[in-house]
């Protein structure tokens, strides 16, 4: 049996290419692992064996006919269930879209599959990506492979858990305020949020259009880079996607960090609510970088103090508008006995949406209302501009910035479920990056001393500085030597 938790995407691809194993065998191994682990973890809303075997068969045919294999040939991948893929349901973990069948493909997913990847399923998320724990799913929470009583983070918790548990080598998540990086930190995976515009948003059900960005989860930085290679690039279907020449994000992985200017963001480290172990992890990481030859210094991002407030105005505002289309008219949940169109709208939406979704729609509707717009949305946009300026001046002095990804390690299921504000604070370090639009990765740094749970390091780069971030992440990964296989998973197996 192939142990997928021990093989990188590159190793799988090379193994398939060299005939060590077939794509079908890899697929069987992945689906077998899902069979064994999924009852404990619930990372998936839908497992897609038919699509997977079909894709694997195409790869095996290619191997047989000796054509050059694409970079992710035979690699099992999972995608967050807010991304469209023909042949699957795209539910957004919502009753509203429980039976919604995709009618077209999300560009990033299509590109991943065109690179030879084998789709094993659609991953659980907080409903419409509203949350930081994957507990806000209409179909039940996903559990953290490192501790099944804890959350995997969110909203891309299913995608993170699938990769952490070795049910897929690579997965796609979407990150609006930290929804890739925070679960990455909580599940010990490499989790990359690209620069806004780097990856097409077409086909990913919009949460907040000016913040959303699709990115990869992987167990190694190299795999994340290969996945990013596959999904990035201009898309004529997304007017906000950047038209830039293609780049190979694996090119800088072995460059080392000698001379790299690394800034530790001290005011974020000192923020209330940051666990001492998390703070220590970032300090230790800075020392690691210094030892590797980087020029390490300190920097402050004072405006990021307003990040959370600005985010909880802008993101719900856009979400309230983006989610208006779920009205029961053309698709999605519709009450069967509506008296008139208003009744149809109100009851279909009240029944179809979960509590957090309704909370955000109401919040967003409120802040955009006549008389409140300037006080909320206008002010939030000003804060956003200040945060951008903070990053801009920081990147005049530094190539990358170090912060925690999450203020704490994975918390218990139910622990913050009834306290939205405590939950919102989970994203305090990741949100500023979405507001500014630059790129960042969470790389597993170490396990916490007492709870033996992963702590991630966030490495933040400037706009389109993915190669620099990859370079720093790869060097840190090698130095940290983090074992990405959760012990719990070993036990279940």
């Amino acid at each position: 049996m192939i142990d997928l938790s021990r093989l990188s995407a590159t190793q799988i691809r090379d193994g398939v290419a060299d005939g060590v194993f077939s794509a079908r065998e890899v697929t069987e191994a992945a689906l077998g692992r899902i069979d064994a682990l999924e009852p404990h973890i619930h990372a998936f809303n839908q497992v897609t064996p038919e699509l997977a075997y079909e894709a694997a068969a195409r790869i095996d045919e290619a191997v047989a006919s000796d054509v050059v294999l694409p970079p992710l040939a035979g690699v099992p991948v999972a995608v967050k269930d807010n991304m469209n893929l023909i042949g699957t349901r795209t539910t957004c973990s919502s009753r509203m879209l429980e039976n919604y069948e995709s009618v077209y493909d999300c560009t990033a997913v299509r590109r991943l599959l065109d690179a030879g990847a084998v789709p094993v399923g659609k991953c659980n998320l907080d409903e419409f990506a509203f949350g930081s724990s994957t507990e806000n799913s209409a179909f039940g929470p996903t559990r953290n492979p490192w501790d099944l009583d804890r959350v995997p983070g969110g909203s891309s918790g299913g995608s993170a858990a699938a990769v952490a548990a070795g049910m897929a080598s690579i997965s796609l998540g979407s990150d609006t305020g930290g929804s890739i990086r925070q679960p990455g930190s909580l599940t010990g995976t490499v989790a990359f949020k690209p620069t806004y515009g780097r990856v097409s948003r077409y086909g990913c059900v919009a949460f907040a259009s000016s913040l959303d960005q699709i990115g990869p989860f992987a167990r190694t930085v190299e795999d994340a880079a290969i996945a990013l290679n596959a999904i990035s690039g201009h898309d004529p279907m997304d007017a906000t996607s950047a038209d830039r020449p293609a780049e190979d994000f694996t090119a800088t992985l072995t460059d080392g960090v000698a001379g790299l200017r690394v800034g530790v963001v001290t005011d974020l480290l000192d923020a209330d609510g940051c666990a001492p172990e998390v703070r220590d992890t970032v300090r230790a990481a800075a020392e690691t970088f210094a030892a590797l030859g980087a020029e390490v210094g300190e920097v402050e991002l004072p405006s990021t103090a307003h990040g959370l407030s600005a985010y909880y105005v802008i993101a719900p505002a856009e979400a309230s508008s983006n989610l208006a289309r779920f009205d029961g008219i053309r698709y999605g949940h519709r009450v069967p006995d509506a008296e008139d169109v208003l009744d149809l709208y109100m009851r279909s939406r009240a029944e179809g949406f979960g509590p957090e979704t309704i909370r955000r729609i109401m919040l967003g509707t409120y802040v955009l209302s006549a008389g409140y717009y300037d006080a909320y949305y206008g002010q939030a946009q000003k804060a956003r501009t200040l945060i951008k300026q903070d990053f801009a001046s920081a990147f005049e002095r530094f190539d990358v910035l170090l912060t925690p990804t999450s203020p704490t390690v994975a918390f218990g299921i139910g622990e913050k479920a009834d306290d939205p504000l405590a939950m919102y604070l989970s994203d305090i370090y990741t949100i500023p990056v979405n507001l500014a639009g630059n790129c960042a990765v969470s790389v597993p740094a170490r396990l916490s001393e007492t709870e033996r749970l992963p702590i991630g390091l966030q490495i933040v780069g400037d706009y389109f500085a993915e190669p620099t971030v990859m370079r720093a992440a790869a060097a840190f990964e090698a130095a940290a030597g983090f074992d990405t296989t959760p012990p719990v998973v070993k036990e279940i197996q």
Binding site: N84, T90, A239, T240, S320, A324, R330, L368, S369, Y373
Partner: protein, 517 residues
Amino acid sequence: MSNRKEVRAVAKDRLAEVLQTWEAVIGLEIHTELTTLATKMFCGCPVAFGGEPNTRVCPVCLGMPGALPVPNEAAIEATVLAGLATNCRIAAWSQFHRKNYFYPDMPKDYQISQYDLPFCEDGHLDVDIGAVYGPPQPDQESDYATRIGITRIHLEEDTGKMVHVGGSEGRIAGATHSLVDFNRAGTGLIELVTEPDIRTPEEARRFAQKLRLIWLCLGISDCNMEEGSMRVDANVSVRRRGEGALGVKAEVKNMNSFKSLHDALAHEIVRQAELLESNGTVVQETRHWDAGAKRTSSLRSKEEAHDYRYFPEPDMVPFEFAPEWVESVRARLPELPDARKTRLASDLGLPVHDATVLTSDLDMADFFEEAARIAGPERARQVSNIMLNELSMHLNAAGIGVAASRISPAMIAELVGLVDEGAISSKQAKDVFAEMAETGEAPGAIVELRGMKQVSDTAVIEEVVERVIAANPGQVAQYQGGKAGLLGYFVGQVMREMGGQANPAVVNEVLKGKLDG
């Protein structure tokens, strides 16, 4: 028919009466679908009227989950072109906003539109008003020109169409269920808003007609009011003459022709004035024009007004229009109707009235210019005359436009040439035209076939003249005795002898030579 005319005359008199003491204040909102674009505003679906429901749709214009809008550059250029043609300032920086409201014909439940940063602002059109009723002009019979300010022109997407089933005339009242056709959803739509500068229904009509002509000239829309590709809504209020403050306004919708626009405004002005005269109050509301019943009725009151929660469209980046780009669009402006009218009058010597009529229809103007080109500029007036008389009457009778007629510019040029060269008389030309219109034959061929060719050969005419003189010695004596009026009698005799085909000028000349000599 005559009864209906009478009703109209009465209504017109009543409006004129009302306008003696009341002043109407009218602003228009004109939506025009960019029907000549190949594709919709934010997706690649083709633009066309009608078709099987929901066949010209895709994930984007259906608002499927995850689909994104990509702006159609050609639509933005068309809007800027419209702005330049109406003397607007083009924004240096602009963006789309989302207008949020729920309605089943709106796939995303928000409309991508523009809010405080429209593409075009501060324009105007000068409109010539024919002889009309009512002040402000003291001399009601005289023509005048008025400048109508244009507040803004912005670009947005059209909605789908609701089809209400089970009620009467497709209206929602009494319907058992409703269907939605999204073929139209996402079609580029420009909205032009005027200043409240319009004072009479006639001014409103002329403005809308002129605007339509300009849009057609720019080629940005087919401007079909019946099919709804050009939709005119009006805000109307009245105030006593001399009063400064504006009255409460009503918005009038559903005017599907220029005549409806005029009649609806006339009705609404009279309604409001009468209401105020009987100590009533005008309610701010939207009113629906019923062209059959010739009245407006309340559609919804302003208390139900929406809070549209406009905010900048985050799926698109803002637009920056470089001055050079704007100039490059300006360079593509075609000759506009006003300029064309002036040119036809000054270069080809047409009376201003004739030039105005010809250029008020793009096809007629094109037809004229082509015919005049073939006939030669010295014959332009004759071309114009025949077009404004015979051709116009024929087209009116047939109920078709010139483009649909079988008569070509070359045929008109040929006909004018035949008259000008003396081959046929003007009277014969009318007969030739009639046959040409019926058969589509070229005028030369008709003349040939019918043996209509005019005889100008002096020798032939002399022979007949001599015969006529010889046969009428009495009349000759009277003529030569001073009764000059008898010349017409001789001309008639000669023409009759020659079956009407003699050139009258030559006959005159020969007769005079023989009789006077």
